[in-house]
Symmetry: C2
Subunit: 389 residues, 2 copies
């Protein structure tokens, strides 16, 4: 029996709107077909969130066709039928013989499809920047008569500007992230294993908030004393002790969309140094948010942060954040000095002020915000406290 | 202050043993230096498990040097000092200017290091199969005087044969996976939201088993009616109902090592069809495990399964499993017809018998096993039941 369509996270009209934007870009690039293999871009254009991207798969957007065609491993095709807005006929499962085969893989099925629809003499967009050299060479060799155009980040730049429906999804994701911070503040205690804290936090992120479940678990990092100078450790086998500091980074997820947040926790009285850094960073955060409005640049926002913390004698080496949306970070604009990307309404950013100052000392705070018509809406709502527990 | 070393998951001698094997392979490939950027290979050779691999990073193994050198983003260097067995001086943090820079990235820092140690006229192994074409071209262009050898899977084939210490780690991971199955069987009930089940399961996988915490959360899939014909959906927003079937796939994690398991659950009495498929698949599973011994091939094991289920009128399109270890699957041998890889003691496999028969109907069961001196040790211990709840 065919699988039934599941409930869609967005109406069909929303996906067609997104495709219209992509097709306009294809027109200006003079390409008739666009091959999109990046998992976040596929989610954006189809609604597909199943995790099958560890083998080759791609959608093909054609100017001749309202809906894209999704070519993926046959065993994953039912998930594509169930989750996406497209007709059943737009899902093509390629055979298992292309898995673990040294000579051919799923990209051969994608190329077969392109050759079937006819691309000789025409422009074909390919995300070359995401392909291994072997796969890129295959597209070039097997589509010799087509004109291949690198479109690595074309869809990413389009999805940077969210619709109001997407913003609503990110608000829901932000509420889930906030619920994770509340849970962390309830369970971080001296004598508790770090893993037990993260068990509770992960559970909360799945349960969700306001009656809306988390639809996935994003990356999470619990970097505690003596590891507060690190940023990407899941958690350790340690037990939390009096005097421990914890730098927590989590994200809430709704149908692929992530809102992220960082907060710092102190078990017992924080050191003077930690308190001073916290105060300087919160001032910097507020200064950065005040700069957010259409027409300002990413660089303006970052510099407002940098200049403010400099007054307190602090520096931060790394960028102040990045565009955020499907599957966390987007490969487009960064909140950093010199990034002249102009802010526009419904762009969303993770203002990420993690500051790993010494090898053995760091501090984190962050918010997910959107640009509004006149300023800024902070989606994450947790208090900007140094949590003392 | 420098960050202190954390407790190591393996003794120094174990890492040196692994490096000796890699260096022997380097000798036979006539390369003096090996660049390893794959995250699982880095964990294998250093103990590093932090999640910084979304930006370029690599270790360089040199025949001239006992310990590898780890070149990674400066803000992640403290985690490398803390987690790995190497001396502080073997960790090189590259500057933030290489992040989000269109002209240069972290691989330029890796290439700078290679040019410093001197590779002109010498062989350099690079994992070309994991690199984008742009990165591969950069290695070739900037190391023009060296002889570049593709070593994509060289370390993966070495780590396929585990030490007893690694097997102990996978046993612990398997116990965590089993605890996840117990938890699922306790919480899957009619009227419960799928997300709430996975909240509890994820929490259990973090809490661990036998006093040993889970050190990470692996991928997890909860594919319920009407989605039992799908395999890679996290979970849905649905509430479990009487008559629901659930196909669950989870993994336990210890210091990067994953043991995976799948089980099928029925809320209420299972259909006759589901019961027949379960019985055939368990027979096939047992037939496959009986074939496991040193000298048998992956193909032998797979064929034992296929021939057994054929007797019950069943087929399975996809492979019966794959080598498993750090970060789940290894890109080496598959349990499939025609894979003539010979089994050797302390190889570990995920015997993955998920069978997505129709678009709207599938069944799953799996075990993680190791090859012993004379046969097979199944690491996952959950009962091979069709769980009726």
């Amino acid at each position: 029996m065919p699988i039934i369509k599941g409930p869609q996270a967005f109406p069909r009209a929303e996906f067609l709107r997104r495709l219209t934007l992509v097709k306009a870009e294809m027109g200006s690039l003079e390409i008739d077909s666009l091959v999109v293999g990046n998992a976040s871009d596929i989610t954006y254009l189809t609604g597909y969130t199943a995790k099958s991207g560890y083998v080759p798969q791609a959608i093909v957007v054609s100017l001749m066709d309202e809906e894209p065609t999704f070519i993926l491993r046959r065993q994953d095709a039912p998930a594509a039928v169930h989750q996406t807005f497209m007709d059943h006929g737009k899902i093509i499962g390629y055979p298992e013989a292309l898995i673990g085969n040294p000579d051919k893989d799923g990209f051969d099925a994608v190329i077969d499809f392109l050759n079937e629809i006819g691309v000789a003499g025409r422009g074909v967009g390919v995300q070359l920047g995401y392909l291994t050299s072997r796969s890129a060479d295959k597209f070039k060799a097997r589509l010799r008569k087509a004109r291949i155009v690198d479109c690595t980040h074309s869809v990413a730049w389009i999805r940077m500007l969210k619709s109001d429906l997407e913003i609503a999804m990110m608000r829901d994701a932000a509420a889930i992230a906030d619920a994770g911070i509340v849970k962390a503040s309830e369970v971080i205690r001296s004598g508790v294993r770090e893993a037990d804290v993260m068990a509770e936090v992960a559970a909360q992120l799945a349960r969700g908030a306001n009656g809306k479940v988390g639809t996935d678990l994003a990356s999470m990092y619990f970097c505690s004393s003596p590891r507060t100078g690190t940023c990407h450790i899941r958690w350790s086998e340690d037990v939390i002790r009096d005097g421990s500091q914890i730098n927590l980074e989590i994200g809430g997820v709704r149908h692929g969309y992530v809102s992220a947040i960082m907060r710092t926790f102190s078990v017992g009285t924080p050191s003077d140094r930690l308190r001073r850094v916290h105060e300087a960073e919160v001032s910097g955060l507020e200064a950065a948010l005040e700069k957010v409005r259409p027409g300002a640049t990413c660089s303006d926002v970052a510099n407002a942060f940098y200049r403010t913390i400099e007054k307190a004698g602090l520096q931060k080496d790394s960028r102040c954040g990045y565009a955020i949306g499907i599957n966390w970070s987007e490969p487009t604009a960064s909140l950093k000095a010199g990034d002249m990307t102009e802010l526009k309404p419904n762009m969303t950013f993770h203002l990420m002020l993690g500051n790993w100052i010494d090898e053995d000392f760091g501090y984190v705070i962050s918010e997910t915000f959107r640009v509004t018509e006149s300023g800024c809406e902070v989606l994450t709502k947790s208090p900007r406290r140094l949590f003392e527990l």
